[in-house]
Subunit: 371 residues, 2 copies
């Protein structure tokens, strides 16, 4: 079964094979694995261990995002969040439930967040200490201009938190040129193409030290993860880690390195997008976004305007043909969602388009002409 | 390699084999797996879905403990914690960092927490709303009388939180007779004999509903996990789960059921303890605890009183022989720690004792007579 969802993604067999071992996470043989994964993540964000730390956290991406908010934004502090879609809504809820205030910045449907609007909103409210945004918005498929958004906040003297969950490992990220960034959050199971169970933050060491003891949560305190990880000779997880999941990520990172790092991976995802976008048009369906703003991570296709359309039936027909796509709606107009990431290539997307054509026929839907 | 640590434990090959699949966690085929694991955990605590919910949480046991404290103890609320060892210290830190007050109840070294002392401490401080304790204390190896401790709190009109991380699945637990219990916390990777990455709470449904919206953390809110899990037709995780880890647990639960449930598993762990305790005495070493209080989960053995003793060297010599034990001290007197749980039987412990005898000889240590 090929998972064509925006994560957890299809993984390669050698990644899953790395799950088949038991580990004692405080064994001397485990420390080098932990240290190696942490070290190899940093260059993917354009930094080194001189200035930044990469911090693994058990759990899902949401845990890392809440941890970053708790660690870097004081209780009662204020964040500006561009409302780019579902994951911006989730970021907002994570912040509000832990007692931080959120100022929402409207963003037009299918548009990129505007750095000038960010600058204006920050100028209008000096109490906003942080900009927090979603780099690649899974609900819409839009990739936002992380560097320009962060720069707008930096120019206004504010700090930045980036939800890069569905971006990290493929989309460009150079924290060495983004001194205003407090944290970038991501997981193992999106563009890094490993299995779920681990989330990560990359953050400046001096900020982690400065914010020690502020999180009001031992579990979700990145400063404490950092101080524990840095213990001489025995840095490791604070609590029992998903050790098998870490080992799989180590293999997945080797595959990413062999593919030429994020630029190589991005090239493949772009090829996936081209194959799928072209194919969708060729069978008479309509992508939700124009090519100019359609990102290479996830793509939504408008549901056919036909009474016989049934998303779950369509998903089931595709599944019989070996492709699994999302089975729920997450856009203003009904659409079906297809992930472009994971251990898949353009040939898989051409095959998926052919399967979609058959599935539409199976539903008795006459194809429309491309828009 | 046989892991003889108190978790993550040695797993059976069929458990690890269940990790080798990719899952779409919002696929219709995944829901039954989620529902099945939740349902099969409840009878292990003596309850059913009529009254109680089992709630999976991504991450480690600490996450579930903090979540239970946040969910059931109001901010500023007070917990009584019997100071039974390292894990009671951790419980205390988890509570204090999220703004709950802890009253410490001293417990003698190598002794069980005394229900009468609990009753007296609760009588002395009406502001204490909860008793929170560790059922099986990993640092000492002492198993406490969970039913009697909970009953003492219940008789005083207080609520109870039980850290059953290293107990659940083997030690007796009948929540149907413990109406004062708000939550029991545990993980997949101890007596359930699966791999790490998932923690769980079992809690009364009416209490979960009553405490909605109090956790001050979306990630660590058990009431929200519950309301999401109960959604008709599509109950699942709130955030990306470690899907492979859940599938492994499903296989591990089938193995537990085949072993006769917790009583069958406990009988094997007790046989492991007998084999190891007898063997340790036979090679002239001294267990830290008398048999009467030594629990069947983890056992500490006094380090030989010999200048040539070196814990890491001893661990390394055992590892060469296929046995991995803990490589750090966690008791007042130096001792080495051996887990009695996981997919191991008495024959493994007899073999481990023989390996220890060789390792001591390798260190040049003359064996002492048994105490």
């Amino acid at each position: 079964m090929k998972l064509m969802i925006p994560g957890p993604v299809t993984t390669r067999a050698e990644v899953r094979a790395a799950l088949a071992h038991d580990f004692a996470p405080w064994d001397r043989d485990f420390y080098p694995l932990y240290a190696s994964v942490r070290e190899r993540l940093l260059p993917l964000a354009g930094v080194s261990g001189e200035t930044h730390a990469s911090l693994p956290l058990q759990g899902s991406g949401h845990f890392a995002i809440e941890a970053a908010i708790r660690t870097f934004v004081p209780r009662g502090g204020k964040l500006l969040v561009p409302m780019t879609g579902s994951y911006a809504n989730r970021l907002t809820r994570l912040a509000r439930e832990c007692g931080r205030a959120v100022v929402s910045l409207p963003v037009g449907e299918g548009e990129r967040a505007d750095p000038r609007a960010v600058a204006a909103a920050l100028a209008a409210d000096p109490a906003i200490g942080h900009l927090a945004f979603v780099y690649s918005e899974t609900s819409s498929g839009v990739v936002h201009d992380a560097a320009a958004l962060a720069a707008a906040a930096g120019a206004a003297g504010r700090r930045v938190i980036i939800d890069a969950v569905s971006a990290f490992g493929a989309l460009p990220l150079d924290l060495s040129a983004m001194p205003e960034v407090d944290a970038v959050l991501f997981t193992a199971n999106k563009c890094l193409e490993s299995v779920p169970g681990l989330a990560f933050a990359i953050a400046p060491k001096e900020r982690l030290i400065a914010r020690a003891g502020q999180a009001e949560s031992w579990c979700l305190d990145l400063a404490d993860v950092h101080s524990h990880a840095e213990r001489v000779g025995a840095g490791s997880f604070r609590f029992t880690p998903p050790a098998q999941v870490l080992n799989a990520l180590s293999v997945a990172l080797a595959l990413l390195e062999a593919e030429g790092g994020p630029p190589g991976r991005l090239a493949r995802y772009r090829a996936n997008l081209r194959a799928f976008y072209d194919g969708v048009l060729a069978i008479g369906l309509t992508p939700c976004l124009p090519r100019a703003v359609q990102g290479p991570i996830v793509m939504n296709v408008l549901a056919p305007d036909d009474p016989r359309w049934d998303l779950q039936a369509f998903v089931d027909l595709l599944k019989m043909r070996g492709f699994l796509i999302s089975n729920f709606y997450d856009t203003p107009l009904p659409s079906f969602r297809v992930g472009l990431i994971g251990a898949l290539g353009p040939e898989d997307y051409r095959a998926a388009v052919a399967a979609m054509d058959e599935a539409l026929a199976g539903l008795g839907i006459r194809k429309r002409k491309a828009a």
